[in-house]
Symmetry: C2
């Protein structure tokens, strides 16, 4: 039975741990930033999470004990960090050096240090998958892998549910940005500090990952990939803060609306508010995400689904574990 | 290098043969109903198809020679037949008895004799994949496989492009069924005898395949599957012939429209014209198809794309060949 070590006990890590048994996997370690529960025969996930919910620790082990525990797959679900992508990157390194597989929900390592991850993977018997880093439950990377990334010309879509919620409410109700953002914060759809979402950073990270996957298909070596990889700093990013209710009203009167669209090609990454047909494929509503994959021969595919949410994102993590075989 | 024997030289078989080299595969046999080109080092596909286009034969071999040729994967792209699903079923049998893999574009064997196919597969080292039988280029079965079919509760969608073209034109232009059907025939979107599409048979076959995949997840043995499998005869099917322009107009005035919706669950298969929201996910236009997958945890996914077309369907066949590993 496949054993998982889950790093991170936020919404995604918690859901992975809670759902693992449903998928036939055992959680042998579960860690947050201050403590860990480790048990070679399986952590009592319900008890550990209950202890934490009551203000206690997940268990009596240190977080680093989870990394050295017995496991087959490391699930890295700690918060995304930029730049050196630490501590997530070091977690990936440790697991690969132990010839273990890694499934990422944390975008940092593949958005900011893609070639470093691939270099470690090349030296390891372990493999790294990262479906959950792009579009939550949407199987974007699995589909690109099946189509063959070398045949994919572009990927574009709505990749941030918070920004999409704000724009679709503004358009539907004729309300202003500040009003709808406050509403989204009340509903828990937007964070107290919403800048990561509304400034386009989150969507840009996802597009950087997608572009890296496309670029990698053209590279013969990790060295070549290192020259061609993108990071967030290479992305052309514009958020939704300057989209006015008036601009949306004009668009709607013309049968169009505005969405925060991310586009990833071999050339680069662009994220910004764009006019799209009001009834078109890209005009998903609320927190829903959509990914359009433009590939040779297949005639264009669009996949929509939940772009966030603990359980939904966990389902992508657990599908990745299954794909590891 | 993976060697393909392609049976069937209609739009799909032809495209599979033409695109195989792009995917790194060699075509060692290509057959239609009267002749075959067979070459262990690779058929000259362009020349064989040119000969056929000029009214000649694909090659100097008999069609049955393709079945006994050297190949790793048999691509079964002969026309779908009902009932005993012959001759497609015997082609699958021969390949599996030789421990070869099979990729189906022909719906017959998995819609009408699903348990028989699985029984042969259980005795073989070969494997059978059939993405192209459901929704053309749309990766419905690959996604269900990744989600885990045991977690999929229902699959529904628009699964026939001809019927969808007719309904969406009727709704957009206020035209009657007979008028739009004639137009579709002129455009090559509908066949001279359109009954397979407009009566819902084609959509029902796809839903039967989907339901069989869901049912199989609950079975512990091929014997159990044999008791539970569905065939076309079990489907509840209603076509679009009785949808009037007046009914569509009423729907549109109410913010809705009509689509031929197929639904596959563990309980069974239903296909018929249904009212759907005019701007909703299921109201795709023209020949586009869409598949909604309702699964535990993932929060609902929808995949739209080209449901037919030689090249598009061939891309699903060739992705299946890749998934065989």
């Amino acid at each position: 039975m496949t054993r998982l070590a889950v790093l991170g006990a936020g919404a995604v890590g918690r859901s992975v741990a809670e759902l693992a048994a449903e998928y036939g996997y055992t959680v042998t370690a579960l860690a947050d930033s201050t403590s860990a529960a480790v048990a070679p025969d399986g952590v009592d996930v319900t008890a550990a999470l209950a202890d934490k919910a009551e203000g206690g620790a997940l268990g009596d082990a240190d977080p680093t004990d989870a990394l050295t525990a017995e496991y087959d797959v490391l699930v890295e679900a700690t918060p995304t960090t930029l730049g050196d992508a630490e501590p997530g990157f070091s977690h990936v390194r440790t697991a690969l050096e132990r010839d273990r597989d890694v499934v990422l929900a944390n975008k940092g390592p593949v958005a900011e240090r893609f070639a470093d991850v691939r270099a470690l993977e090349a030296e390891s018997e372990g493999e790294v998958l990262f479906e959950a880093t792009v579009g939550g439950a949407i199987p974007a990377l699995a589909t690109i892998d099946d189509l063959g990334p070398e045949r994919v010309r572009a990927v574009r879509g709505v990749l941030n549910g918070t920004a999409n919620f704000v724009l679709s409410r503004m358009a539907a109700e004729g309300l202003d940005y500040d009003h709808v953002l406050a509403e989204a914060q009340d509903l828990g759809v937007a964070e107290a500090d919403p800048s990561f979402d509304v400034e386009g950073t989150d969507a840009a990270l996802k597009c950087v990952i997608l572009s890296n996957v496309l670029r990698e298909a053209d590279c013969d070596s990790v060295e070549e990939l290192r020259e061609r990889e993108l990071t967030l700093a290479d992305a052309d990013v514009d958020g939704i803060r300057n989209v006015t209710g008036g601009a949306l009203e004009l668009a709607v009167n013309d049968g169009r609306t505005v969405r925060l669209i991310g586009e990833a090609t071999r050339e680069g990454v662009r994220v910004g508010p764009r006019l799209v047909p009001e009834n078109g494929t890209l005009a998903v509503s609320g927190t829903r995400n959509i990914v359009e994959i433009d590939a040779e021969f297949s005639g264009g595919l669009a996949i929509s689904g939940a772009g966030a949410g603990g359980e939904e994102t966990a389902s992508a993590v657990l599908s990745d574990v299954g794909r590891l075989g």
